[in-house]
Amino acid sequence: MSSPGADETEPWPLWEVFVRSSRGLSHLHAGSLHAPDAEMAVRNARDLYTRRNEGVSIWVVRSSDITASDPDAKGAFFESPRGKEYRHAGYYTESEGVKHL
């Protein structure tokens, strides 16, 4: 979608909303909404996703601006960590019983 109002099937674009629930935490995806521009998207997001103090900060991004990994290539794309259990602490068992390790 090039700009708001440009597509007659959907005059307002879709936005993805990310909410930080409290200082020190990451912004997490809360949902999406419809709004004509970024400023209105932030305001709508406040009304829609933080009616009960769920957030101290909001990010919005146009859904069409998100670049995603190819959903059809799941297996191949995420294959590399498989078989590499040595990247996890649980792989190392000989230190069992040793304190502070």
Partner: protein, 336 residues
Amino acid sequence: MAPAATPTQRKDVDPVEDPAGRARFDELITADQRVEPTDWMPDAYRKTLVRQVSQHAHSEIIGMQPEGNWITRAPSLKRKAILMAKVQDEAGHGLYLYSAAQTLGVTRDRMTEDLISGKAKYSSIFNYPTPTWADMGSIGWLVDGAAICNQVPLCRASYGPYARAMVRICKEESFHQRQGFEILLHLSRGTKEQHEMAQESVNRWYAPALMMFGPPDADSPNSAQSMAWNIKRFSNDDLRQRFVDMIVPQAEVLGLTLPDPDLKWNEERGHYDYGELDWNEFSEVLKGRGPANAIRLERRRQAHEGGAWVREAAAAYAERRRAMAEKASAEKVQAA
């Protein structure tokens, strides 16, 4: 027409049959995992969800009207603030659900069109009028109560965006039911007239609330498929029974009776038996011949058409700002 696809929405609304995609879909359903917008899905699954999620959204939006009706006449400032917060929540529920439906490749405008043209359905419960303040209590206690029974299992629905919207909604619903219960409790313990008002209201809402779970299992042809797809988790009759078992003891706390002479504890079943419901009335109301169908739709149409200039102005403003920003950055490049 399908909206421009984004990574959060489906792009192929009529997917070609894809054996690998179907195998993957079946695998996800069998493993009770979630299906996401960009996954391949059978067209019937997508259509069922579009219908269910948009009807659900419409119900939340139309559902604002019977209660909105009482905001200006709430008996105290506290009750008014509570009622406004509840009605605002329902607007929010509608918007979460419209967004979830959009991920399936249907536009918001299309859904709105279908609602105000009378093509789309919504929950028949909102076509009953709210003549007394006690109805705010009955709606919260019985209507939101039945909605919660229906919605809690939907938090595990197989379609990810729908399930996530339901989680958010369910978190907010419990306040709705409790505030309704409290309204009835205060009336029931109030003057004789107040008590009678509460009882009269519960008498009107009991049967329609039970019918919210939909027709009996034997007459609910689409249920089996929805259950096979893990969209629906319990049958209409199972959910209705669960609800009846919940509200009988609650009515006792309220000091109110439920208008059903057949309502009694069945030791053998471990459930309350309840009387036959008037399914003829249900289908009449669903077909648009309920007491308030015409008013609800007309009101929704007026609101939508009356708000057209706001949507147009907001879009024009956004476009103008975008154009100005573009021009400014072009001039900057030229100056440099």
